[in-house]
């Protein structure tokens, strides 16, 4: 069974030594993310996130199904993660590693359980028909920070996605195609984003957004999910080196700051994409009747 290449003793010692001298391998400060890139696909709901060398693609798709009998008024939303062998030779299809289980659990808790998506809005006819939303997360390249990158990808894709409109006539529901009616965005209640802190030196030093080498050397990690409104959606610290509770509280403050920056970044990219799609903008369309394109304003 192929497994993750273990880091050599020399590298391990060097990274630790460098951290004590306040140096990271790629020259970043301790609390700085790598360069973040976000691009959207041709279709609605495809987000491609690049965080340093890590690359994650999320795709949202929708289907119409019968809702679960115990949740008649809710639509269905599920997040599926897949570690592609193209990201690292240590990944194999069909055999989830610990990292994969943790990633999907964190995404589940961060996004689904925190009610980031209003599933009630996915209901078409109570107890009979609802939309089933599926977010596929594909890890394309792995250089650490998978959880943070995946969460950004899913949240960005959800905000980018448009579902087809429906027309309900009594017991009948007609799904209107994109050509008939402008598809509508999902109702997203808040945008949770993850920030992973890696601990070194018995919890004395912590790093934001560690790469693979740093992840292998670290003694523990704390994954904090927050939204820009200052709500914590999830904290996960599964063992590892112990931390001071005050340091933990401090992490939430840093996480909030990072999440605010990331939310702003995502919003900016969404706006850019939106402009590209409707070059003239919605306001222009609305004022089509009194458009005076040829009018020359004197003076």
């Amino acid at each position: 069974m192929p497994r993750e290449a273990e880091i050599s003793i020399n590298e391990r010692e060097f990274i630790k030594q460098a951290l004590q001298e306040q140096i990271r391998l790629d020259g970043r400060a301790f609390d700085v993310f790598r360069s973040l890139e976000l691009t959207f696909g041709e279709e609605y709901g495809v987000a491609d996130v690049q965080l340093g060398k890590t690359r994650v693609i999320a795709r949202i798709s929708v289907d119409v199904v019968t809702p679960a009998p115990e949740r008649k008024f809710d639509g269905i939303f599920q997040i599926v993660t897949e570690f592609s062998p193209m990201a690292s030779p240590a990944f194999e299809i069909g055999r989830p590693t610990d990292a994969e289980v943790i990633l999907s659990r964190i995404l589940e808790k961060a996004i689904r359980r925190s009610n980031a998506l209003d599933t009630e809005s996915l209901c078409i006819i109570a107890g009979q028909k609802c939309f089933a939303l599926r977010a596929d997360v594909h890890i394309i390249d792995h250089d650490g920070g998978l959880i943070d990158a995946s969460c950004i990808a899913v949240i960005a894709a959800l905000q980018h996605f448009r579902r087809p409109d429906v027309q309900v006539e009594g017991e009948k529901a007609i799904i209107l195609s994109v050509r008939e009616r402008e598809p509508i965005p999902l109702s997203i209640l808040h945008q949770p984003l993850c920030v992973t802190f890696s601990y070194f030196e018995e919890g004395e030093i912590y790093l934001v957004d560690a790469n693979v080498a740093e992840e292998q050397v670290r003694q523990g990690q704390v994954i904090i999910t927050m939204n820009k409104h200052g709500e914590i959606c999830q904290i996960a610290k599964y063992g590892g080196a112990t931390v001071n509770p005050l340091a933990l509280l401090n992490c939430t403050n840093i996480a909030l700051e990072k999440v605010k920056q990331m939310s702003k970044f995502i919003q900016q990219k969404l706006d850019e994409d939106n402009k590209k799609r409707n070059p003239k903008g919605l306001m222009n369309e609305l004022s089509a009747e009194n458009a005076r394109e040829n009018a020359v304003i004197p003076g």
């Binding site: 290449a5 273990e6 050599s8 003793i9 020399n10 030594q17 001298e21 140096i23 391998l25 030779p89």
Partner: protein, 241 residues
């Protein structure tokens, strides 16, 4: 080396006049890796790279940048110790390939009683002693004729950096001229060890120097910097120290 680079793609037919003329002592043409002979006298390429010819030896080969390292006898490599068996250390040349064997006694001055103790995940600079197609490669840290280490052996301290195989070959070439290393080396002292398996070990005595040199090499590799680019980078590296 050829003066003008001839870039070839798989399946290209190598023109007769691109091949060595055979004016040297050896009459028969030798084809190196990446070339295939189709009788009677057509030579085609099997990989993408640059065609290199040597008139004196009457040989031609294609230099290419492959993905995974395949061991070849005589190559200098940086191996990672994976574990210790009865008589060998199991070493990895690349993370996901079967281990190569490094005998406990293949170190300078090693005897049955005084053999090196290498914990798992330590680094060794060694030479590939044999690499058959059907058996795992064997490594050695001594020159079999002299019994001397000649610079081979465990690597202490420093940091490991990944580079492309092409870059590793460039650094190991007899007349390797990397402006970056020349310029930086004139100002600060550091040691580099290049493994043919795409690894370079840098020890600059302190963290800053080691990192600056290592990252400089990686940058030259990734951006394929030329002479002037390297000099500029070298100036930046020196400024950062």
């Amino acid at each position: 080396m050829a003066s003008a680079l001839t870039v070839v793609l798989p399946g290209d037919v190598v023109a007769q006049d691109a091949l060595p003329t055979g004016t040297g002592k050896k009459k028969t043409l030798t084809l190196g890796p990446g070339l295939r002979h189709i009788p009677p006298n057509t030579v085609t390429t099997t990989v993408a790279g640059t065609l290199v010819t040597d008139n004196r030896k009457n040989a031609a080969l294609v230099e290419y940048n492959s993905g995974r390292y395949t061991p070849f006898a005589g190559d200098l490599v940086i191996a990672t110790v994976n574990g210790s068996a009865a008589e060998n250390f199991n070493c990895l040349l690349t993370p996901e390939t079967p281990p190569a064997a490094l005998p406990h006694l293949a170190f300078e001055g090693a005897t049955k009683k005084t053999r090196p103790q290498l914990p798992p995940n330590s680094l060794v600079y060694c030479r590939v002693a044999s690499a058959g197609k059907d058996q795992p490669p064997e490594l050695t840290c001594v020159d079999p004729s002299t019994g001397k280490g000649e610079g081979l052996g465990p690597l202490k301290g420093g940091m490991l950096f990944k580079i492309s195989l092409g870059m590793a070959r460039r650094l190991l070439a007899p007349k390797s001229e990397l402006a970056l290393l020349d310029v930086v080396g004139a100002k600060v002292g550091f040691e580099i060890t290049v493994g043919r398996n795409g690894l370079v070990h840098v020890d600059g005595g302190n963290v800053r120097t080691t990192l600056a040199v290592g990252r400089g090499i990686q940058e030259v590799d990734q951006k394929a910097l030329g002479e002037s680019g390297q000099r500029k980078l070298a100036a930046d590296v020196l400024k950062s120290l």
